[in-house]
Amino acid sequence: MRLKSIVASALVALGVAAAPATAQDAKSPLVTTEWLEKNLNDPKLRILEVSVEPGLYERGHIPGAQNVVWTTDLVDKLERDIAKPETFQALVKKLGINSDSTVVLYGDNNNWFAAWGAWVFDVYGVKNVKLLDGGRKKWEADKRPFDTRAVSLEPGNIKITERNTKLRARLADVVDASRSKNAVIVDIRSPDEFSGKIFAPPGSQELSVRAGHVPGAINVPWGKAVAEDGTFKSKEDLKKLYADAGIDGSKPIITYCRIGERSSHTWFLLTKILGYDVKNYDGSWTEYGNTVGVPVVNTAGTVWGVK
C-alpha cells in the first residue's frame, strides 16, 4: 500500500498521472473531492447538484456544476412517479450529457437527493453516473472553491433507454416480499420511525395514517453507513454492517424509507459499492403506511396517532 502511494506520488510528480479519470477512478461509483477538483476542466465531465434547500446552488456551487431540481426535474408533477421518459430525455439533453460523459452528482443533506438522482439516471440507463463522496458538506469542509456563475453547454446527444424495472420496487413487490420472504426488505429510517413511536421526522409534510414498518423488514438506519465527514464508510465496513444485520447479498434486496430519497442513499451503496441486487421502493412508507389492507408492524402501539 505504502509502495503504491509512493509510486503514485512519483507519477504525479512526473506529470504522468495528469490525465483525467485514472483507471481506478473509472471503476469506482464514487469520486473524491480531491479527484473532482483536479478534473474540473475535463470536457467529458458533467457535474450536477441536486440539493433540497433552495438557493444553495445559486449562492455557490462546484465550478461548472449545473442545477437539477428534484421536485420538478426528476419527478412527474402530476402523477406520483419519476420523470416521464420525454421529460427526462429533454433534461439530459439540456444538461449536455453525451454517451461518453462522466456524470458526477452531489448535493446537500448527505447526498440524499443526489443519490435519488443517481437512481433515476440508472433507471433510464445513463452510464458512468457517480456520486461525489461526502457531497456539498465535504467539498465545503475541504475548503474547496465554489462558483456562482451559471454554465452553458451544447445540448447532449445521449439517448435514454426504457425504464429498468429491476431497479424499482412497487407496492405489490414489497407486499409479496414481506409474505414470501423472497427478498430482504431494508427499512433505513430512524429506530423511532421503525417502531412506530413517531410517524415521520419533525417538519415532514408527507405523512402516513399508520406508523410502524413492513412485516419482516430489517432496520438499518442510513446514517450508520456514513463516516463523520459524510463520506461512505469503507467497503469492508459496509459489508460487515449489513452482514451483521443479516444482509449479505445472497437474496434480492428492497430498500425503503419515507418518500424514497434516503433509501436511494442505501440503494446506491448496496448496489454500486457492494454489488448486491437491490430495488428501491420509492413509494416507501407514505404509500405503504397509507395502503388499505396491508399489514404493518407497530411495536410502539400507535394507531391513528394515539395509543
Binding site: 433552495p54 438557493g55 445559486e58 449562492r59 431540481v69 420538478t72 456562482t148 456563475r149 451559471a150 452553458s152 419533525p202 417538519g203 409534510q205
Partner: protein, 421 residues
C-alpha cells in the same frame, strides 16, 4: 413621529426640522461630551465584529455575515432615520418628500442589484421558475388587507417593525410594547391563516415581473414607475434643500447629524443586494414569526399545520429549532448596532412608558404582526425586498400600506385618538 412617543426632538423631527442639527457642540468638541458614550458604542460594534469573526472561524460563515449585515442595517436605519412611517408622514403632513425620495433611491439601487444577480442565477426568466428565496408572493385580497392592517398598525404604534427594532436601541418606551404586540399579532395571524389561505391565497397568482417583461423590460418599467412617483412627489411637495452640506465637520456629519435619506436609501439598496446574494433577502420578521409560532404552539392557539405556509420559504419560515437562526442573528445585531449608533449620536434616551404609549404600542403592534404574517412579510421583506425582486406583490403591499397609514392617520386624528401634527 406621533408625538406621544416621547422621543426627544432631535430624534422625532421631520427631515426638515432635523436639519437644524441637534444640540451638538462645535466641531472641536464633537467627541468631547460624548467620549464615554462613543467609547461604549465603539466597544459594542467591536464586540459584534468579534462575535462574527469567531463564528466565521468556527465554520459558521453565514451566521457571521448575518451579524455583519444586521449591524450595517441597524446603523444605517438609525443614522438615516429610515422609517417607512416617518417618510410617509413627513410628506403627508409637511409636504416634505425627502424621506420618500430615500425609499425610491433604495428601491432603484436594489432593483438594479437584484437584476444583476438574477441574470447570473436564472439566465432565462421565462422558464417558469422563480429565483430562490426572493419575496415574490401571491397577489390576493388577503395581501391588500394585510398591507392595510400593517399601515394602520404603523400609524397607531408610530412605526413599522424594523423601525421599532432600531428604536429599541434608542430606548424608545413604545417599541417594546409594539414588538410584544407584534408577537401577539403573529399569533392571531396563525390562528386565522388557514381560513384566509383557503379563501384567498391558495389560488392567487404569483406574478414576477421579469417573467412577463424580461429582465431589461422589468428593470426599465420599474425605474420609469419610480421616476414618475418621484416626479409626482416633487410636484406635490414644498421645496426643501436636499443637502445640509455637513461635510465641514465629518465626524459630526457621520455620527451625530442625520444622514440624508437618499444616502441611507442607497446603502440599504446595496445592502439588500449583497444580503440576497450571500444569505437571504433583507427581512426582519422571520425570527419574530418563528418565535411567535413557538409561543402559539405552546399555548395551543395556532393550528399545528398552516396550509401552504409550511412549505413556503421566505419571511415566515418554519418554526425554527435553532437557538440562533440567521435571521435571529441579523435582528440581534441590528438592535445592538442601532443602540451603538444612537449612543454615539447622543440619541439614546430611554424613558418610562406612559399608559397611552403602552396601549398604542401594543394595539398597533397587533395590527403589524397580523399584517406581517398574513402578507408573508413586512415593509422590509414584502415591500422593500419584494419590489427589488420584481414582485407585483411588493407593489400591491406598498400601496395598501400607504393607504392604510393615510386612512388611519386621518380617521385617528378626526376622532382625537391620534395626535395632530
Amino acid at each position: 413621529m406621533t408625538q406621544g412617543d416621547g422621543i426627544p426632538e432631535t430624534r422625532t423631527a421631520s427631515p426638515g426640522n432635523r436639519l437644524k442639527t441637534p444640540d451638538h457642540r462645535p466641531a472641536s468638541s464633537a467627541f468631547g461630551w460624548s467620549r464615554p458614550t462613543a467609547a461604549i458604542a465603539a466597544a459594542l460594534l467591536a464586540a459584534l465584529a468579534a462575535v462574527a469573526y469567531i463564528l466565521h472561524i468556527q465554520g459558521h460563515p453565514a451566521l457571521a455575515l448575518s451579524i455583519v449585515f444586521g449591524a450595517i442595517f441597524g446603523v444605517v436605519l438609525q443614522r438615516s432615520r429610515f422609517c417607512f412611517f416617518c417618510m410617509f408622514r413627513d410628506w403627508y403632513d409637511k409636504d416634505d418628500p425627502r424621506g420618500l425620495f430615500g425609499l425610491l433611491v433604495a428601491l432603484a439601487t436594489g432593483i438594479a442589484g437584484y437584476t444583476l444577480i438574477f441574470g447570473a442565477w436564472l439566465p432565462d426568466a421565462a422558464t417558469g421558475r422563480l429565483p430562490p428565496d426572493a419575496f415574490i408572493g401571491p397577489v390576493s385580497v388577503a395581501l391588500v388587507a394585510a398591507g392595510f392592517a400593517f399601515g394602520a398598525g404603523m400609524a397607531i404604534s408610530g412605526s413599522c417593525v424594523s423601525a421599532h427594532l432600531y428604536r429599541l436601541g434608542e430606548g424608545s418606551p413604545t417599541a417594546p410594547f409594539a414588538l410584544l404586540g407584534t408577537v401577539a399579532g403573529f399569533i392571531l395571524g396563525f390562528a386565522t391563516w388557514n381560513n384566509i389561505y383557503l379563501a384567498a391565497v391558495a389560488d392567487a397568482p404569483v406574478l414576477w415581473l421579469p417573467q412577463t417583461l424580461g429582465y431589461a423590460g422589468a428593470l426599465i418599467a420599474t425605474l420609469v414607475v419610480l421616476a414618475v412617483i418621484a416626479w409626482a412627489l416633487s410636484r406635490t411637495s414644498r421645496t426643501v434643500a436636499l443637502s445640509s452640506s455637513p461635510a465641514s465637520n465629518f465626524p459630526v456629519a457621520l455620527l451625530v447629524t442625520r444622514w440624508p435619506a437618499w444616502i441611507g436609501g442607497a446603502i440599504i439598496g446595496a445592502l439588500g443586494t449583497v444580503a440576497y446574494f450571500r444569505i437571504a433577502p433583507l427581512g426582519v420578521t422571520a425570527e419574530i414569526g418563528s418565535r411567535a409560532r413557538q409561543v402559539a404552539s405552546g399555548l395551543g392557539v395556532a393550528p399545528p399545520r398552516l396550509e401552504g405556509l409550511d412549505t413556503l420559504r421566505g419571511c415566515i419560515s418554519v418554526a425554527g429549532d435553532a437557538l440562533f437562526s440567521r435571521n435571529g442573528a441579523f435582528i440581534l445585531a441590528l438592535v445592538v448596532a442601532s443602540f451603538a449608533a444612537a449612543l454615539a449620536a447622543g440619541q439614546f434616551a430611554p424613558a418610562w412608558p406612559r399608559p397611552a404609549q403602552i396601549v398604542r404600542g401594543f394595539a398597533g403592534g397587533i395590527l403589524l404582526g397580523w399584517g406581517a404574517m398574513t402578507g408573508l412579510g413586512c415593509t422590509v421583506g414584502t415591500l422593500l425586498s419584494g419590489i427589488m425582486a420584481g414582485a407585483l406583490s411588493g407593489w400591491v403591499f406598498a400601496a395598501a400600506v400607504f393607504i392604510g397609514i393615510a386612512v388611519k392617520l386621518s380617521a385617528g386624528r378626526h376622532t382625537g385618538l391620534l395626535p395632530r401634527p
